[in-house]
């Protein structure tokens, strides 16, 4: 045990005060059982910022105009690692609930359009493509367009190439791995068909000229991104999605995220697998 770690103490009231504030700001509500995890990270940041104690640190974070410390802490408190089939209950929701509902009320033959943002290195859009192939019979009747966007052109390039570590594919079922990947040394190369199934574009959600062209999507996946935005950017992003969706279209957020912190534009929809958000059918 490091001796300097034990000098800073987070009291019960400190923890509760922090928990309320963090909940209000991010929507993440820590159970008391997470106390150790939270305390440890708080102490880490108190030390790194030379704040001395919780009180000074909390005041600094709370009143910092840039919000940078809160952002840093949010990153620390949320483990954001991307891999294939991450939070797969949502893909189950996609193929078993969302898509069936969408095609049931479809009156045209327009392709179903899915927008996946952030693209990151491509695990999520490729997961969606595999899920549709393997778990959604409708793929034989309907055309699907998958568009995946990120602000970082470097990561988009990685996504286009589609080469992954063993760790990244660890949750991919063995038959899928055989079918859609080729082993290259220690790595896994995603197949050409899937690479062609996804289009990658660069977009900055805060830039109206960037986002104006994104229209007529049926489903938007935006998981674990908005949590890292400030309030106004988050709200702006929710409005961009609203404009990008068809009436009745859906937004899927990450498991720790809720539209309730962001915007009241959407209707909350409960499916057996997940809560998602819908632009009402009457909206245009």
């Amino acid at each position: 045990m490091k001796s300097d770690m034990s000098k800073i103490i987070i009291s019960e009231e400190d923890f509760l005060k922090f928990r309320e504030y963090f909940y209000r700001k991010t929507g993440i509500n820590f159970e008391t059982t997470k106390r150790y995890f939270v305390d440890k990270r708080l102490i880490e940041r108190i030390e790194a910022t030379d704040s001395g104690d919780f009180r000074s640190y909390f005041i600094m974070m709370r009143f910092q105009a840039s919000g940078a410390e809160l952002q840093l802490l949010t990153n620390l408190m949320t483990v954001n690692e991307t891999y294939f089939l991450r939070e797969d209950y949502q893909f189950d929701c996609l193929v078993n609930s969302i898509l069936p509902e969408l095609v049931k009320r479809k009156t045209d033959n327009r392709p179903i359009r899915i927008w996946c943002i952030p693209s990151s290195s491509g695990e999520e859009p490729y997961t969606i493509a595999m899920y549709l192939m393997e778990r959604w019979p409708g793929i034989h009747q309907w055309d699907v367009e998958i568009l995946s966007s990120d602000i970082d052109t470097g990561i988009l390039n990685k996504a286009r190439i589609g080469r992954y570590s063993a760790r990244s594919v660890m949750h991919v079922p063995a038959p899928w791995l055989v079918k859609y990947f080729t082993r290259v040394g220690d790595e896994y190369q995603i197949c050409q068909d899937l690479r062609e199934a996804v289009e990658f574009t660069r977009v900055n959600l805060a830039e109206p000229t960037d986002t104006r062209g994104y229209r007529n999507f049926d489903i938007i996946f935006c998981r674990n991104l908005l949590i890292y935005f400030d309030d106004l950017s988050r709200k702006t992003a929710a409005e961009v999605f609203f404009d990008a969706l068809i009436p009745g279209g859906f937004v899927c957020l990450g498991h720790a995220e809720s539209m309730s912190r962001i915007s009241s534009l959407y209707k909350v929809r409960k499916f057996p697998q997940a809560i998602v958000y819908q632009k009402s059918l009457e909206s245009r």
Partner: protein, 122 residues
């Protein structure tokens, strides 16, 4: 055990109501605005809602209208407000409230309304 959802954006108010209700033997969950409350109501059948009027994103009226209008739940709801005026009360009942309390709420007042609406004796 009867389950009650407290919907209020002020943490201290939620804690105050929680203390009163838990010491009277109720089980409690919290939401900090109307949308979060809708999310919770969709996932669990509560026996009663205690709803603040002024909240960000979706206020108490909006929450009740959606709760009733979308038939998510028809169990009793108590609206809690800083306004005592009659037209505020009328608006609350019209939105779907079954009880109305003016802040600051006294414990005995809260429990009386809760017990009556939940169908217990006082």
């Amino acid at each position: 055990m009867k389950r009650i959802l407290i919907v209020d954006d002020a943490a201290t108010v939620r804690m105050y109501h929680r203390n009163i209700l838990e010491s009277a033997g109720y089980s409690v969950d919290e939401a900090m605005n109307g949308i979060e409350a809708i999310e919770k109501a969709l996932q669990e059948a509560f026996d009663l809602y205690i709803v603040d009027v002024n909240m960000p994103k979706l206020d108490g009226y909006g929450f009740l209208r959606e709760l009733r209008g979308e038939n998510i739940s028809q169990v009793p709801a108590i609206m809690v407000s800083t306004e005592a005026a009659e037209n505020d009360q009328t608006a609350a009942y019209r939105a779907g409230a079954n009880g109305y309390l003016v802040k600051p709420v006294k414990p005995v007042q809260l429990l009386t309304h809760v017990r009556l609406l939940i169908g217990e004796t006082i």
